[in-house]
C-alpha cells in the first residue's frame, strides 16, 4: 500500500508546481555571423503564452522586413538575418533570452519584444550591454523614466497620450451630444492603465463626471460583476484599457447585461482585426473606438511594399502588431545606414534622438528619453471595416458612430 501523503506535503508540492509554471523557455540555434557574413539582429518575442498573439504578429513584421531588406540589397550591402527566441510571455525568460543574444549569440543589433510588461526588463539588458534597443510595442510611460539612453519606442505616442486625440474629440463634442458621465475599467497592465488614465484626466478637466474607475487583474475571465457595476453607475461613455481577451469578454458581458453606453473606447483589443470581429461579432464591433498606430491604406514610406509582401508571405492584410514590428526594424535600419555602421551603438542612439525616420506608421521622432513625440490615429469599426476617423485630415471616413448606433 502506498504511503499516504500528508496535506502539508501535498500543499508544498502544489506550491512547487506554481513556481514551475513561471519558467519556460525555448531557444533557436544561433546563426553564423561575421564581418563578411550577414548582419544578425536578435530579438525575443512572446511566441507562446498570454501575449503570443501579438508576439507572432510582430515576428511576421520582422520577417517581412528581412525579406524586403535583403531583396533591396540588405543593410550596408550585407544580407540581414534575424534570430528570434521565444520568451513564453515570461519576464524572467525574456531577460535570459536577451542576455543570451548579447553574450552568447553575439548578435550585431537588437530589436525589442512585445508589450511593455516584457520590454521593461528586456530593455535593461540592452542598456547594460550598451546596445540600441528599438521596441515595437512598449507604450508604458514607465519605459522612459529610468534615464536609459539606448531605448526608443517606434510608434507615435506613449500610452498616456495614446488616446489623447479621442479624449479631446469627446471633450469638444456639442453639449447635447457629449456624454455627461464616464466609466474607466482597465486591465492591470503597464500599457493599458496609462491609456485610460490619460483619457480620464482630459475628460474630467472638461467636466465629464467619472462614475466608475477600477483596475482588474489579468486573470479576470468573468466581467458580469464589473459590467453590472458600470451599468448601475449610469455611464454614458466607457473607456476600457484592454489587451485582447478581456476586451472581447467585456463586450460579451455588456450584451448579456443589456448595457449599451453611447460611446465605447477600447485599447488594443479592437486592433486585432478579424479575431476581434469573430470574438464580439460585427454588429457589436460597430462603432467601437480604438487608437491605432497603423492603417493598411496609409500612404507612408514602404507601406505598399509591406502590405504586398505580407500578403505573399502570410496571406491577408497585416495586423497592427506586424506593422509595428516592421516599423521598428525600419527605424534600426535608418540609424545604421545614417551612421554607416553599428559598432558604435551610442552613435545610433544619438542619431535617432536628433533625427526623424520615415516608416510605414508615418514620420517618427523622439524625445531625449526615447519616447516618441507624435500622435496616434483614432480608429473605429464601421460595417465590419476598421476606419480611421481622427485626426480629420487623415480620416478614411467623415462619419463617426455611436456604439452600435447611428452617426453623431
Amino acid at each position: 500500500m502506498r504511503k499516504p501523503i500528508s496535506p502539508r506535503a501535498a500543499l508544498a508540492s502544489v506550491c512547487a508546481a506554481s513556481v514551475l509554471l513561471g519558467a519556460t523557455a525555448c531557444a533557436a540555434d544561433a546563426p553564423e555571423s561575421g564581418e563578411d557574413g550577414p548582419i544578425t539582429i536578435g530579438a525575443s518575442l512572446p511566441l507562446t503564452g498570454e501575449f503570443s498573439q501579438g508576439g507572432l504578429d510582430t515576428q511576421q513584421g520582422y520577417e517581412v522586413w528581412v525579406e524586403l531588406q535583403n531583396e533591396g540589397g540588405g543593410l550596408l550591402g550585407r544580407d540581414v538575418e534575424i534570430l528570434v527566441k521565444d520568451d513564453a510571455t515570461n519576464q524572467n525568460t525574456v531577460v535570459t533570452n536577451y542576455n543570451t543574444l548579447v553574450d552568447q549569440d553575439g548578435v550585431d543589433l537588437l530589436l525589442g519584444t512585445q508589450s511593455s510588461l516584457l520590454n521593461i526588463p528586456a530593455s535593461a539588458v540592452a542598456e547594460r550591454a550598451g546596445m540600441l534597443y528599438v521596441c515595437p510595442s512598449c507604450a508604458s510611460p514607465d519605459m522612459f523614466n529610468r534615464g536609459f539612453e539606448y531605448i526608443f519606442f517606434s510608434q507615435q505616442a506613449t500610452a498616456s497620450t495614446q488616446a489623447e486625440t479621442f479624449a479631446e474629440w469627446v471633450a469638444d463634442l456639442p453639449a447635447d451630444e457629449r456624454p455627461a458621465t464616464a466609466a474607466y475599467p482597465s486591465l492591470d497592465d503597464p500599457f493599458a492603465s496609462p491609456v485610460v488614465e490619460g483619457v480620464r484626466e482630459t475628460l474630467e478637466a472638461a467636466g465629464i463626471e467619472t462614475v466608475y474607475a477600477d483596475v482588474y487583474p489579468a486573470t479576470t475571465k468573468n466581467f458580469d460583476a464589473i459590467v453590472g457595476a458600470i451599468r448601475d453607475s449610469g455611464a454614458e461613455l466607457v473607456v476600457q484599457g484592454a489587451q485582447f481577451e478581456d476586451g472581447v469578454n467585456f463586450v460579451r458581458a455588456m450584451n448579456r447585461a443589456g448595457f449599451a453606453p453611447e460611446l465605447l473606447y477600447q485599447s488594443s483589443s479592437p486592433t486585432y482585426g478579424e479575431q476581434y470581429l469573430e470574438g464580439v461579432g460585427p454588429e457589436n464591433a460597430q462603432g467601437v473606438f480604438f487608437s491605432s498606430s497603423y492603417h493598411v491604406a496609409a500612404e507612408t514610406e514602404g507601406n505598399a511594399e509591406f502590405v504586398a509582401k505580407y500578403d505573399e508571405m502570410f496571406g491577408g492584410l497585416p495586423p497592427e502588431d506586424a506593422a509595428d514590428g516592421f516599423a521598428a526594424a525600419q527605424v534600426v535600419a535608418a540609424a545604421v545606414e545614417a551612421v554607416g555602421g553599428y559598432d558604435d551603438q551610442a552613435a545610433l542612439a544619438d542619431w535617432l534622438r536628433s533625427n526623424s525616420v520615415e516608416t510605414i506608421l508615418g514620420t517618427l521622432r523622439w524625445n531625449e528619453d526615447g519616447s516618441p513625440d507624435g500622435q496616434f490615429l483614432v480608429g473605429q469599426w464601421q460595417d465590419g471595416v476598421s476606419d480611421v476617423v481622427l485626426p480629420a485630415d487623415v480620416a478614411t471616413t467623415d462619419r463617426i458612430l455611436r456604439w452600435r448606433g447611428d452617426a453623431l
Binding site: M1, L20, L21, S52, Q53, L56, D214, Q275
Partner: protein, 292 residues
Amino acid sequence: MNVIQALVSGLLVGAVYALMASGLTLVFGVMRVVNLAHGAFAILAAFLTWTLWSGLGLDPLASIPILSVVMFGVGWLAYVLIVRHVRNRHMSMTILATFGIALLLEGVMGFAWGNQSAAVRTAYTDSSVTIGPLYLPTVTLIAAAIAVVVLVSLKVLLDHTWAGRAIRASSVNESGALLVGVSVKAIAATTFGIGIATLGAGGAIIAATYPFIPGSHYQWIARLLAIAVLGGLGSLPGAVIGALIIGVGEQLATLWLGASWVVAVPFLVIFIVLLVRPQGILGQRLREDAVA
C-alpha cells in the same frame, strides 16, 4: 439587489469552476497525482470544440458527448505513455511530468491551431434570461446545468457502479484491491481518463464563453489548483464547495471592494481556511468516502 445578482452570478460561475476542478481533484484523490496539465487538456478540448463548430457547424453543447469520449482517450493515452511511469515516485516527479505534458500540449495546440485567439459565438453567447431585476447569462446558466449533470453523474459513477467501487478501492488500498480481483493498473488509467473526460464538457463551455489561446491554460490551472486546495485535494464535494466559494467570492469582492481585489479576496479566504484546516474544507473526507 446587487448583492443577490452577485450571489447568483457567483454560484453560476462557481458551478463551472466545480466542473473544471472535478477531474483534477478526482485524479489526485485516487492517484495522488497533481495534474498540472489539467488546464492544458481543457484548452485542448476548447480547440476541438472550436474545430467542430467552425468546420462542421456543431454547437458546443452538442459536441460534449463526442469530446468526452475523445478526451477520455487522450487522458488514457497520456496516463499510459507518461504518468504511469512516475506515478509511484515522489510527488515532485508527477508534477514535473504533468507540467511537461502541459508544455507539450501547448506546443501541439500552437502547431495545430496557431497561437492566435479562437472564439466561438453562438446564439446564447451574448443573451441572458431576465427574472425580475436579475439577469442570468444564458451561457453561464447552461454551463451550470451541465456542470450539475456531469458532477452528479460522476458521483453516481463512483458510488453506485462496480467501476466506481474499484476506483475507490484502488485509492484506499491497492494491495487489497488486487486481492479481490481489481486490475489496479487498468483502473488507474481509467480514472485518469475519466478525470480528463470531464473536460469534454469543461472545454466546450470555455469555448462557448471566453476567447482562448494555447497559453490560456496557465490561468485556468492556477485557479483550479486554488479551488482544489481550498476544498481539500482529493475531495469531490470539497472541490464543489471550494469552487462555489471562489465563484461567489470573486463576484462579491468586485461588488464591494472593486475589481482589483478579485484575486486577493478569494486567496485570503483560502489562506484563512488553510490556517484552520490545513487539509482543506473536506480534505479528510475523501478517504472516508472512499472506504464507505
